[in-house]
């Protein structure tokens, strides 16, 4: 080819097609989606926690998209039903994830509603799940001789607690747990099968 304009024109057409199919049409199709009936907007503490989730890259090991029962046993593992677009109405940015080094978390709040478990698990995952390869988020906690008034002390299994000291959760850890507990899409939605079409 001798003409660079034709070349670039062709190249732009193919990219426009790709953009139309993967960005523009989904935009149009999904812009009318309303929040699911059981879905509540995030509180500001939960949103701060969501920021912690993003900051520390939880999304690189945890998905938030259980697969349909026809495809995988995610439901049997207690990860929840297959979600629909309406479940993600308040999610900006989306945190669907692509990796399951750890389990799916879309319904972790329903599966593990204990604040103490969540905090302790963030501090030392191996205290609760032997063999876990999740990082310890010790930098979200303080270790002190004595907790001050109003501070949340983390109840750790005795062998994992620092001797003679207490572990208290920093606000970041508390926010993160707020968010994790808010992850609960166990309410019913209409015909999850409809999304396949």
């Amino acid at each position: 080819m001798e003409n660079e304009y034709k070349l670039l024109g062709g190249a732009m057409v193919t990219l426009a097609l790709a953009t139309a199919t993967l960005v523009v049409v989904p935009y149009v199709q999904l812009s009318s989606v309303q929040p699911a009936d059981g879905l509540k907007p995030y509180t500001s503490a939960q949103l701060r926690g969501r920021d912690q989730y993003i900051k520390n890259g939880c999304v690189y090991c945890h998905t938030q998209q259980p697969r349909a029962q026809a495809q995988a046993p995610d439901f049997k593992r207690g990860w929840g039903r297959a979600p629909v677009a309406a479940d993600y109405f308040y999610d900006k940015p989306h945190l669907l994830g692509t990796m399951r080094t750890g389990p799916d978390l879309l319904n972790i709040g329903a599966r593990q509603p204990s604040i103490d478990w969540q905090l302790g698990h963030l501090y030392q995952p191996r205290a609760y799940t032997p063999g876990s390869i999740m990082p310890s988020y010790r930098f979200l906690f303080d270790v002190k001789d004595k907790a001050d008034a109003g501070e949340k002390v983390v109840n750790l299994p005795p062998s994992y607690a620092p001797v003679g000291q207490v572990v208290v959760a920093r606000p970041e850890a508390l926010d993160l747990v707020e968010y994790l507990l808010a992850l609960d899409r166990t309410y019913p939605v209409k015909a999850p099968a409809a999304r396949a079409e």
């Binding site: 001798e2 993967l22 999904l30 890259g57 979600p83 677009a85 191996r126 876990s132 310890s136 396949a196």
Partner: protein, 563 residues
């Protein structure tokens, strides 16, 4: 819309695409002249090898390996032809000189980012089987250091190498000098400043939250300005070209350099994307950065350097053009396969799966072409260090793309999605293919840029074997581990933790492989630096550039490439 309709529509669309291609052939929109494949050679140059990274002995062996088969073809020209050849070579030297400084800046940055990215990658890898390793620092937590690794590769090593090679190659292909190189230097400075700021933000925890698009959009503005400045000289140079026909490498590079800014802009517009739609956009971007930026640049490099080194035009020029349009058409739409089984419209996933499978067309076009060009000449790999990287990289392209096509199928995706298998696949593409080709290209380009030979040829071989062995361990280990992980996850009677435990030995293997690769990169960076500081033997100077080989290597005579 049901699946059958979508399938039918996609089929019709794809076939229409092919008809357009056939039509354009009939209209001679493609230069149907095999001479087009020869435009990268000057008169009488076909049959003469060019391998700046080879030692004199290697060069001689390389030439004789090629001459055995096509001795008669090897550039015997008359006096007038010789004069024209010399004029063209002089022109090429002018082109090379105009790009030398700019190319050096880009490649030096690329090497720097390569070392940073490999270290970050290695730390992340170790953390996956030693979770307490460096766990006390927020910026070193897995979620951040892994992201630093990805971004340093995606916006540091890969584009810096790609720009450097494109800036060096395009003026040569257009037979003119680089115009406005200063803009590119300024662009490189802005780009690197943006990357440092972006990585700093990620380390500090400021992050847009989308995979591949983590760098805060405020910083992205700097990338856009930097990228535009880097693109300017290429546009100027294109306008100033002295060739009629645009060689296929120009297609790939030119298109890639226009595609990327559009992807980057749309992907980073703040506040536009929402919920699940953002996920489709995310993977439209994520996959197209690979498919419409890195891949075409590396393919362009293969299409230029491979024929250059062995002194033989590519076998089927039209096949390379078919490959281009098929890639442009199909690759753009494959991103949805990252969301198979996700809460996105079903038609979109089906479309992406179909186009993923259709990607076999451009990949075969390339692979067949590379194989036919290299056929009977594989012996040259022994003598040419550059060619080894490039040909192996090309083979990895075939492997990774075919693997990717099949991974998109629902049946296979159900196992491999969400596992380390995907990570291994991603590295096969970006490392096995792209990075190896870039290594080869850098080995070819740098002696021309510096007018200096690689000081320690053995280090090239060491680099090659370290990264190839390291990567083999990495890829094979992680693929097996990822597959087992996926199988374990699909069995509801197996506790989830078992799908973690089963991967541990393979994750350890990955760290070993990654360690070897990093070591290889350190060797490479050391060699690069030694060359920049002009250690080692001195080249006689530009006078020796491209001198016809017969004169450099008299019959049966000792090597005189080096003085």
């Amino acid at each position: 819309m049901n699946t059958t309709t979508v399938l039918l529509l996609t089929f019709i669309l794809s076939v229409t695409g092919l008809f357009v291609f056939v039509w354009s052939l009939r209209k001679h929109l493609f230069d149907d002249n095999p001479a087009a494949a020869r435009v990268i050679f000057s008169e009488g140059e076909i049959g003469r090898v060019e391998e700046p990274a080879a030692t004199a002995a290697q060069h001689q062996a390389l030439q004789s390996a090629m001459s055995v088969l096509q001795g008669k073809e090897a550039g015997s020209t008359d006096r007038a032809g010789e004069a024209r050849l010399q004029a063209e070579l002089a022109q090429r030297i002018v082109a090379d000189r105009s790009t030398a400084y700019v190319t050096f800046v880009f490649l030096a940055c690329a090497v720097g980012w390569l070392i940073f990215a490999s270290s970050a990658g290695l730390i992340s890898s170790i953390k996956l089987h030693e979770p307490e390793f460096l766990a006390d620092y927020a910026w070193l937590t897995f979620g951040r250091i892994r992201t630093l690794h990805l971004n340093a590769v995606a916006y540091g090593w890969a584009p810096m190498a790609a720009f450097g090679i494109a800036i060096w190659t395009l003026p040569r292909l257009l037979k003119t000098e680089l115009i406005g190189g200063r803009f590119a230097i300024l662009g490189a400075m802005l780009w690197n400043a943006a990357l440092i700021a972006g990585l700093g933000s990620i380390a500090a925890g400021l992050n847009d939250g989308l995979e591949w698009l983590e760098i805060p959009w405020q910083i992205d503005i700097l990338f856009v300005i930097g990228g535009a400045l880097i693109g300017l000289p290429l546009v100027f140079t294109l306008q100033n070209r002295r060739v009629e026909h645009l060689y296929v490498s120009i297609w790939y590079m030119g298109a890639a350099l226009f595609w990327f800014p559009i992807l980057f802009l749309i992907g980073n517009i703040p506040g536009l994307h929402f919920g699940v739609e953002q996920a489709t956009m995310n993977w439209w971007f994520g996959h197209n950065v690979l498919g419409l930026f890195y891949t075409p640049i590396a393919l362009a490099s293969v299409y230029y350097f491979l024929p250059k080194i062995i002194g033989r035009p590519i076998q089927s020029y039209n096949l390379s053009l078919l490959g281009f349009w098929a890639l442009a058409f199909f690759y753009g739409q494959v991103g949805g396969h990252h969301l198979v089984g996700g809460p996105v419209p079903g038609w979109l996933i089906t479309l992406s799966i179909v186009q993923s499978i259709m990607m076999i067309v451009p990949v075969l076009a390339f692979s067949v072409n590379q194989h036919l060009t290299m056929r009977h000449h594989f012996k040259t790999l022994i003598y040419s260090p550059t060619l080894r990287f490039i040909v192996l990289g090309g083979m990895m392209y075939t492997l990774s793309s075919v693997q990717g096509s099949f991974e998109a199928l629902r049946s296979i995706n159900t196992v491999t999605h969400f596992t380390h298998f995907t990570v291994a696949h991603a590295h096969l593409g970006l490392y096995g293919f792209f990075s190896l080709v870039m290594f080869g290209a850098i080995y070819f380009v740098m002696p021309r840029v510096m007018s200096w030979e690689w000081p320690y040829p053995r280090l090239i071989a060491l680099h090659f074997w370290l990264v190839v062995c390291g990567f083999a361990v990495y890829f094979i280990g992680l693929s097996i581990g990822g597959w087992l992980q996926g199988i374990a996850m699909l069995d509801a009677s197996v506790p989830f933790m078992d799908s973690v435990r089963v991967t541990i030995p393979y994750l350890e293997a990955r760290s070993i492989g990654g360690g070897l690769m990093t070591l290889g990169h350190i060797v490479f960076a050391f060699h690069f630096m030694s060359m920049a500081l002009r250690y080692g033997r001195k080249r006689v100077g530009p006078a020796l550039f491209h001198k016809p080989v017969e004169r450099l290597v008299p019959e049966g005579g000792a090597a005189v490439v080096k003085a």
